[in-house]
Symmetry: D2
Subunit: 504 residues, 4 copies
């Protein structure tokens, strides 16, 4: 079967790109080309931006409750197509069906939160800041926002745009070139909801090409990016250079720290899931597992046991618990890092390289790969976006925190303990954006903002939730006073003013 | 056709009451009995309360986002049945189909706002109010709430329960005995959403019987009532006597004040609609129209002209713009008030009594009835829940405000002017809960709270919106401190603590 | 020395009452009469209310930042007189100087929070709830509020009025008849700040006389009461009957529950302080100490040891750690309860009756008195407002919670544990307004609201903090729309509207 | 008299710089050197940053209410020294004493708002986002912030640091090199309040030297800058390049638009004050006065009349209403712009060049200078930081808005009208950060955020108010779940769990 050529969605219409450059989208379990994704041309980009600009003023003037109604409708229709979308995710991303469904559950909550737009957009008002003078602010949308979602959550992160639309901005989503099919389907569903034309647009293509063109186009006002730290930093600084708003979420090297009172039998499955869920390709994935001396032995044993139970395969098949990584390039980079780890003296406890996956010999598979490593090693420090993890024994909780805070990343840190005092102290000390207590992947639900520190995030307004509204709007302060008064037109004010008004 | 016997919905099941007393529900346009509504028995009431109590703990422990998902589903299903519900409203309440649809549009927004439950339920947290001491509050639901909606908005006000459910309380709705069919259908739709049994219950019967039994039952924790001031006060004080929470919204006698700069040609249709929409049976209806000397003549002329254009009839028929009042009793009371007005010397400008409505000779019709009256007259002061209205010339804006503030009611007051200063001054001076500026029925959308002053409301927490969440929950403050610390288990803390933790 | 006759502060002036009834204020350590407090006459009360009403409109129209400046000034001046006020507290209330100082520290935070009035009074605004329609609410003060503080925190609770003043209401404080001197001094200090006359008023007298007259006077709009449950309920229902707002904080019987992992050596001093601080006369005092079997023996031993170390005496003297109770009547009631406890079979572990306090033989002293008692006993169930406490062994945490929730009171409950999970579960399960985790007296700081459940509070809006602002104001919703537009006066709008406005 | 050598305030001590470069501070009315300000050396800068870093961890761990107490104390002490500070402002900045006092009044409100720190720092908490899982965020301070205030409000803008301190950050203020004396005195006053050493630091020197060194130093985390657009953009991009937070408020070219219904007699003094107050050296100053045809003639006449009444002179002298501009360089630049205006064909209506100010012949004076100019002229477009203003007739309000939105700046825009509809429409249409309605200088009070658009602001979080707290903190999300439960240690749970717990 001929792979489908994906179309762009511009100003309410599906348009095939006139580009000569078509990027292959492959099923990472089979290496088959399942779609072709256009490298959208500069002309097409420019046209899209201009049409999104034209759509802005009218969308900005659509009352927020009416905008919310589109989102309620979108929510309903997405709900109906959940399974279909999950299947697309599996096929282009590689994760298991269970993970894909988990992604969608979370994604639905984004839409649910954005449905509260009219509530979130409320401004603040103060009467009589001085006699007769009132002050208030309203939250104004800004224009055309660019959304650059990554390949690893092709549905969830792509849906960042719902807050932009709730806020009254118009949106151009550029799909991840590895996983553009999911968001294409999502935009098709949005189309059914009848959003006014130009409000939501979808373009395909590469980050360095189409993405950069959007960020630097004078007609766009800001960008929400999620991806690697390296690219995130570049996008952020480019955007700032062009006087745009930007929030760029980068990579991570997350740690868990297991205290001596942790209930090892109960927690280890959660730790392992945190390491290998979504094929380890998520910014909330745990990379390094630290445990204090007293329990390290047991932690290590359990960790390896449970890791070995993971079943590699095509994510749509039953029983499979670990899919392939997203691309051959990604797999090769990972293998280089594993080699480097070995070279640097890290102890390879579990070697997942070159696994045998009979039915899918061409898949980009790597099994769980576990090192015992030291903080100064590259394998311990740098993000590996796949199922390659490190263990490390620490003397005490203090050493654990020290190691965590020496990481160049600052996305999450997690402690396993039943002790309320240790948990509180840990949460205060670690220099990260999200803290997990007995939870390895402390991803905030849609109702809370997300953002890392250090090279895990560039930008000062966090993503999602109420902070998304902060990002997609600007506060406009209005200060007023009037000269007209009842007294100016009064005929009955012959005595005490207040009394006259019935205020006694 | 035999009128339908309405069932109660108790603990997830539709149950026919064992009562011997069945109340007739009539179509006010035809006087036909269209349903029979049981006076639910004390035993049945008691059983319902107990089952709602049993359902509470589990519903309270259902995470708010999961509770919200039920409401999203409910929203979707209600949306589909809008027309059907509108038809039920017309048939049992009498208002026109357009008004019924308007009611539902507003009602949907209640559900939409309640869908934001997880956002609205967020508590507040302060770290380190003293060294090592944290304080926060959570919003806890309280138990079984009673909802006593009125006949005039049988869909909209009945839906107050959505905030209670969002908050984690369980609900018993007692339908209005005049209009119980609409809410019955709404609860059927809710049933399809699979709310856990006992979470939402519906009982039928009289206010003095079933309503009071619910309010005084030791198993209920509070009541939201909307109805007349007289009954509202009684319900409120009864509830308080039994140590329950209560918010009781009562009646109104709303005024508009037309300033000399008002654009008469543009505003008068709005004024007339405010007076006669929903057959004048709404707490936001305008009763008294005040205008300053300079424009009074024109206002009066236009008002009478437009009033005369209203077409009486059965609300389902095309072209009808004024339906019957809800019951024969209501009609008779109104006629008594009109007589009294005449006796008191008010000038009857338009007499709507005994109108001819050919196709519906048995309907409870009264046409627009307009007096020119003085503030001290009963017809000017007391609420008439139907299309009987007063006009009054005032010398200036100050006199207008004075008259407004002398009313025993304090629901709304409205000014028509283009002048920003007059509008602001008016808003500050009038002693009411809602102020309209060029809007005769300033009903807050679901995102803002509703409540009157003086005898228009009993209770200190307003209805709907975030305030509904305040009402249906109690804040529980939690103050914590821990004795365990990293230092207590430290092995590596040989020098500077902060440094050790990587905090430099 | 002749005891001072306290004056009322009415409309900016210190006025001696014309009453013939003067109530004696005694130093509970010495039984000396230290002041005479008038039973203010009905005429004086009426005059005060009327003057406070007259002061309202102007104070309501004073911009909130300007009102805040008075409070900043008040804060500064109170700060300077802290020691003096502390001395007054010791002399009329009996608590130790250290406790009195602690009270003032907390009291200062009330003023500090109220200084944020302009922030707390901000309303909410939504632009375009429908096309061209804006909605907002402002928080309006209501009129004259009555403050009925208790004897046990004569400075702190008396200062509830700061939130009322911040909100724009005027205040009448009725002093506790046992401890009227402290608040008199506080009002003198307020006087120096130049609050406009009539804004803050002070009356002396009994609760049943002056208090009730204020609550039922048609000119007052609401009441904040703190005292016993019995009186609180009465005041609440009286206020409601008269259509006033009311929040009445009542009594308490607070429990701590000590888990098996609690660090007994560290926590017991805190437990004992919670029991006997402020002579046990506080609604946050712990009355019943529950401990699980495994640690009960050690808890009991430590508790008795530390209790015995308390030193009775006059609170101004160094080394004294337990003052007298507030009055001879209070002491006698307590002794009756102790007798009853013995009769009911409670085991008297420590008998504080008839203690020897050499220098103050006339003082109303009772030493720490400790029972081992059972939940069904009166001494375990009912509030004893003084240093009489119970211990009780429980099988497990679940039994502890069960006992706590069977109490008729619901003010606080406290757990001592290092376990985060137990703490969370405890906090959710206990049916109280405040939860302490390793803190026996979980009194929220001024920045958080305070309120109990069951008979510990009557009213639905909690005290202090942002909730105080909710209580002392009403939201007024303003909905506006305008007919004038630029197009109505346009000469340049010959093409695309948005373009013309430079919005591209 | 030898001019005073200003010292730096580093880590709690006043230290004289070892620099060899001393910058002259002159009184602009007299040209006298009144102080010498050091160009602080790189070593001193580095040392200051390191000490501020060291002070951070302890200040971050000081409970917010305790931090607030320092600010309350600071507020009190500043209040006492108001006149003294006002005098310093006049002497180094040139503005009149009345303006200087006005500045301080506003400045005090900054401190007042920051005193609400404990309120503003509250985080958000959600219980049970999933079963047993809680999520919350806390607001964490970030480290050492740099404050770069401008010369034009040497007290007010310098006090931005109060929000940083309230938030728990430590601060390094670099004084404006033209006006360093005021902030030096302010820091002396802060010193008296006993802020812990290192928490607040003051360095002197140039922006390009000391300012840039602070912004690029690896030990600082962010910068708040107020100044020109050109420098603001440079500072912003430098800060971003170094991965710091930044908010840089730039210049402005503010417009007023006078509608035909404006009450010209009442408003023109306000318009003129908006143009020439603070010598026209403020980002809120009005530069261009637009009026619709019908009233333009009268506006122009009145404007010139009132402008001519301004009295030039030394700001400390009575009767003086317009001081000198801040420096000879500034004056010269202004004169160049005036020449250019004339060259470009703008009509000079009032020529303030080379005014005669007898007593102060060396002062940097320029009288009110008024053009009639066109939007495409440089004098109409670019910011002139002094009393040089333009008038312009417009056909209608639409043309006025069009002109406003074509400006490269977006700080404020102001309309004079009594019409509520025009005011609303204007506020929505203008692309600026602050809108004034009948107020020429719509500077938000401290309780509202400030920020412009386009080249008037670089950064996405506005300054002051709650937004300042957003800027000086990062949200850290904490997600927790526990494995321990009461059931794990239960002995009494033999039947229904909820019942056992007394929850029925």
């Amino acid at each position: 079967m001929e792979p489908k050529r994906l179309k762009n969605f511009i100003n309410g219409q599906w348009v095939e790109s006139k580009t000569h450059r078509w990027l292959e989208v492959r099923n990472p379990a089979t290496d088959e080309v399942i779609a072709l994704c256009p490298e959208t041309t500069p002309d097409e980009i420019d046209r899209t931006v201009r049409l999104a600009q034209e759509a802005f003023w009218s969308w900005r003037n659509t009352p927020p409750p009416r905008r919310a109604k589109f989102l309620f409708d979108f929510h309903e229709k997405l709900q109906k197509h959940q399974d279909e979308i999950a299947g697309l995710i599996v096929n282009e991303n590689g994760k298991t069906l269970a993970d894909a469904r988990g992604e969608i559950t979370r994604a639905m909550e984004y839409v649910e939160h954005a449905c509260a737009g009219p509530e979130l957009l409320k401004g603040s008002h103060a009467e009589d800041v001085g006699t007769g003078v009132d002050t208030m602010y309203i939250r104004e949308p800004l224009g055309v926002f660019v959304f650059l979602p990554p390949f690893n959550f092709p549905a969830m992160i792509a849906l960042y745009f719902v807050w932009g639309l709730a806020a009254g901005d118009t949106a151009i989503v550029k799909s991840s070139r590895l996983c553009p099919m999911t968001v294409t389907r999502i935009v098709e569903i949005a189309e059914e909801c009848g959003f006014p034309k130009g409000v939501l647009n979808l373009l395909h293509g590469s980050g360095s090409g189409v993405g950069e063109a959007l960020v630097t186009h004078p007609g766009t006002v800001g960008v929400s990016f999620v991806g690697s730290s390296e690219v995130g930093e570049r996008v952020y600084k480019t955007a700032i250079h062009h006087n745009k708003r930007a929030q760029c979420q980068g990579g991570a090297k997350n740690h868990v720290l297991i205290a001596e009172d942790a209930i090892i039998d109960e927690i280890m499955q959660n730790v392992v899931d945190s390491c290998f869920g979504h094929v380890g390709e998520r910014c909330f994935a745990v990379s390094n597992v630290l445990a204090v001396e007293k329990v390290y032995g047991k932690v290590k044993e359990k960790f390896l046991d449970l890791s070995k139970k993971l079943v590699l395969g095509y994510g749509m098949e039953k029983g499979v618990t670990l899919g392939p990584v997203v691309s051959k390039e990604a797999l090769n980079e990972m293998l280089v890092e594993v080699d480097q780890g070995i070279k640097d003296g890290a102890k390879l406890l579990l070697d997942g390289r070159n696994p045998r996956v009979d039915k899918y010999p061409k898949g980009y598979f790597i099994g769980p790969t576990v090192f015992e490593a030291e903080p100064e090693m590259r394998i311990f420090q740098l993000e590996v976006f796949g199922p390659v993890r490190c263990l490390k024994k620490v003397k005490d909780l203090a050493e654990g925190v020290q190691i965590i805070n020496q990481s160049p990343y600052g996305h999450t840190a997690n402690i396993y303990t039943e002790n309320g005092g240790w948990a509180r102290e840990f949460a205060r000390l670690v220099d990260v954006g999200q803290v997990g207590i007995n939870i390895g992947t402390p991803a905030p639900i849609a109702y809370f903002p997300v953002g890392g520190r250090k090279i895990s995030m560039f930008g000062d307004i966090r993503g999602r939730a109420n902070e998304a509204i902060d990002f997609y709007t600007d506060k406009k302060v209005i200060i007023s006073r009037w000269h007209s008064s009842f007294q100016g037109v009064a005929k009955t004010l012959d005595d005490g003013f207040a009394m006259k008004y019935g205020k006694k």
